[in-house]
Amino acid sequence: MSLTRRTLLATTAAALAAPSLAQAPAKVVVIGGGFAGATAARFLQREGVSVTLVEPNAQYISCPFSNAVLAGLRNLSQQTFTYKAIAAQGITIAQQAATQIDAQARRVTLTDGTVLTYDRLVMAPGIDLNFASLPGYDEAASTLMPHAWKAGAQTTLLRQQLEAMPDGGTVIISAPANPFRCPPGPYERASLIAWYLKTNKPKSKLLILDAKDAFSKQSLFTAAWKEIYGDMIEWIGLSGGGKVTEVKARENIFVTEFGEHKADVGNVIPPQRAGRIATIAGATDQTGWCPIDPVTFEAKLVPNIHVIGDAAVGGGMPKSAFAANAQAKACAYAVSALLRGDNPAEPKLINTCYSLVKPDYAISVAGVYAPAKGLLADVQGAGGVSVANAPASVRAAEAHYAEGWYKTITQEVFG
């Protein structure tokens, strides 16, 4: 054997044993093109990694600010982004769904049968609606009583129902137990629908049936509702009989342990779990979510698979777009370090989440997180919600900053 050939074989063997950025670029497959997955794909590609982004949809319709679409304050087109800039960056887009994952062989199978191999896999599958956990509610029922918890056609449907409702009608929103996507979301939604009702159908009512006794930014929402909407919004928590146990979609009825509530417009926000591909990969535990390592975001249940965004659990970080984006950057760093054979440094993560109560009135929650005892724990002394009893100028400033956040993050992720 010639020396040249021996060298070549040795190099090939080394590349197979320990993928290195110095040789053929390491391969990472990212599943899911939302705030987490698209961010991870972009930052990994900039690290010199060969990235394939698996996303079945040609467009992404963003949930943040979609409650403003329900109130007629925005158009869905302002929520819609493409993957053109991501592709132009040099990321391969596989416009397919992932159907199988072989964690041992490090292979992902797509809808059309294509098989992608990877050195490491990043999964950002978002949420699935857990229809099985709410009797009477499924895909078909959601065409009558929309969830609108994935923005798009469901958002449009709920908007149309609100527009068609006569003045004096009752809107009912059911909110699930924790954890779920966007913890303050149901209450921002109630606020902005109330804004639409107050300005267009002022004799109407809005009822929130809640499967829990406390919710995000509760005291701020409650005070703002009283101040702005009087007694238009009523909230019934778990101990008051607010937990919805069944829905009758054809009759627009929410069933609780205490009785039935009939709506003119019924919005069911059902329980959720990690996107199905996470379960196929074996990354979900009995709760339906993916426990992760707080430094690398590697799934605790499967090696070489990292989970970020709404599908991941492990500490105090809420399921928000900001958290998804921050986790994706920390994960991209960790994956890149692992592929080089380095130890990833401990990350620190930030979350910021604004909720609109009406136009020019927003409240926020913030948090800083660091690894502690295997979880991403709140950094003590930091974070918290907007101050109570603040002047209107402070609420207006936060609404203004919320707009800025949306422009910046969507530019970083899709621009």
Partner: protein
């Protein structure tokens, strides 16, 4: 700022060792943020503070000392804020310094 570089050693039949230096993507002013060198937490700042000025300020026009002193003032409460004081309290003075340094070098938003 250092360029990422890779050495390839190849042995020829003559036995001479030839070192080849490839410079991969040397730094330019438009280089995207290098998250691999980001101190803890720094890359998250870019989720609100990008290259363009929006309703929120871009950090690209600020100096290292301006970012550090602003964060210090937010942390102590010397400077009023709607939200930044809640975030600044999550970072020690040392972490804040490292973060400011990264943001004006590798961390410039593209």
């Amino acid at each position: 700022m250092t360029a990422r570089s890779t050495f390839h050693f190849a042995t020829t039949k003559g036995g001479a060792l030839i070192a080849l230096l490839f410079c991969l993507g040397g730094p330019t002013s438009a280089a995207p943020p290098d998250v691999s060198k980001a101190p803890a937490g720094a890359s998250a700042c870019l989720g609100c503070h990008g290259a363009s000025e929006t309703e929120l300020p871009s950090l690209n026009k600020l100096s290292e000392s301006e970012i550090e002193s602003a964060m210090d003032a937010f942390r102590t409460g010397a400077r009023e804020a709607t939200l930044m004081n809640r975030i600044a309290k999550g970072f020690t003075p040392d972490e804040t310094r490292a973060l400011a340094q990264w943001l004006v070098t590798q961390g410039r938003a593209p």
